[in-house]
């Protein structure tokens, strides 16, 4: 899977070693960020998957599972909190 041009970016800068650069993506379903490609050919990285419903990258854990966009998950979580609060319970 080619890294989308709007990927995130991570670097590790340290003494005595070249700068390590990574492209990162954020899962559209769970919000997790992961490295998809590195400047080191010795490092293998899992490219994750692609959701054809929300047309966004998903992490290896969410690949192949039901499409529940992350913002939808947040809304469900916040609605559950409101329901619990209306019942006098804490989440």
């Amino acid at each position: 899977m080619p890294t989308p041009p709007r990927a995130g970016y991570a670097t590790i800068v340290g003494p005595g070693a070249p700068v390590k650069e990574f492209d990162t993506l954020t899962c559209a379903h769970c919000g997790r960020a992961w490295c998809v490609r590195t400047s080191s050919p010795a490092t293998t990285a899992d490219p994750g998957g692609w959701c054809r419903l929300c047309m966004k990258p998903v992490c290896p854990t969410c690949a192949g599972k039901e499409c529940v966009p992350f913002l939808r998950r947040l809304e469900l979580y916040e609605r559950r909190r409101d329901l619990f609060r209306s019942m006098g319970l804490s989440l």
């Binding site: 709007r6 990927a7 954020t26 769970c30 960020a33 913002l71």
Partner: protein
Amino acid sequence: MPRRYAVDGAQNAAATVTVLGLTSASTIRPGIYELLFGCGATPADQAFDMWMRRYTAAGTSTGVTPIGLDPGDPASLCSAGENHTVEPTYTTELLRFSINQQATFRWVAAPDGELIAPATASNGIGLQFYSVSGGTAECQAMFHHVE
């Protein structure tokens, strides 16, 4: 345009100890779009395994105030904490990396790829040591977030 803030924290290295936590509020969904982590202690060979995780209870910490990147913005609605005496109640992992003590780590999110916390009080995202190879060097972290 969303408001942008920076907040930093410090903590002596130890396994399962939080460096910096950013806690949401019931009116906003903060999104962390940049993370910086490094160690200002005397250089030594020590390894840190770090992870960013969600939490549902913020624990007890020394408060640090997020500073607006635009001085014209109002104060942040989030709260943040360093030097935790009671760890947050963590749930899922969001980002993980391992570095040497002498290295510096920086992560910038893809646009729309921020680490977002729910609009729920006491919920948030923290940077925690997963494991430390030895020593208790003081480390520093900085989050930039939008809300």
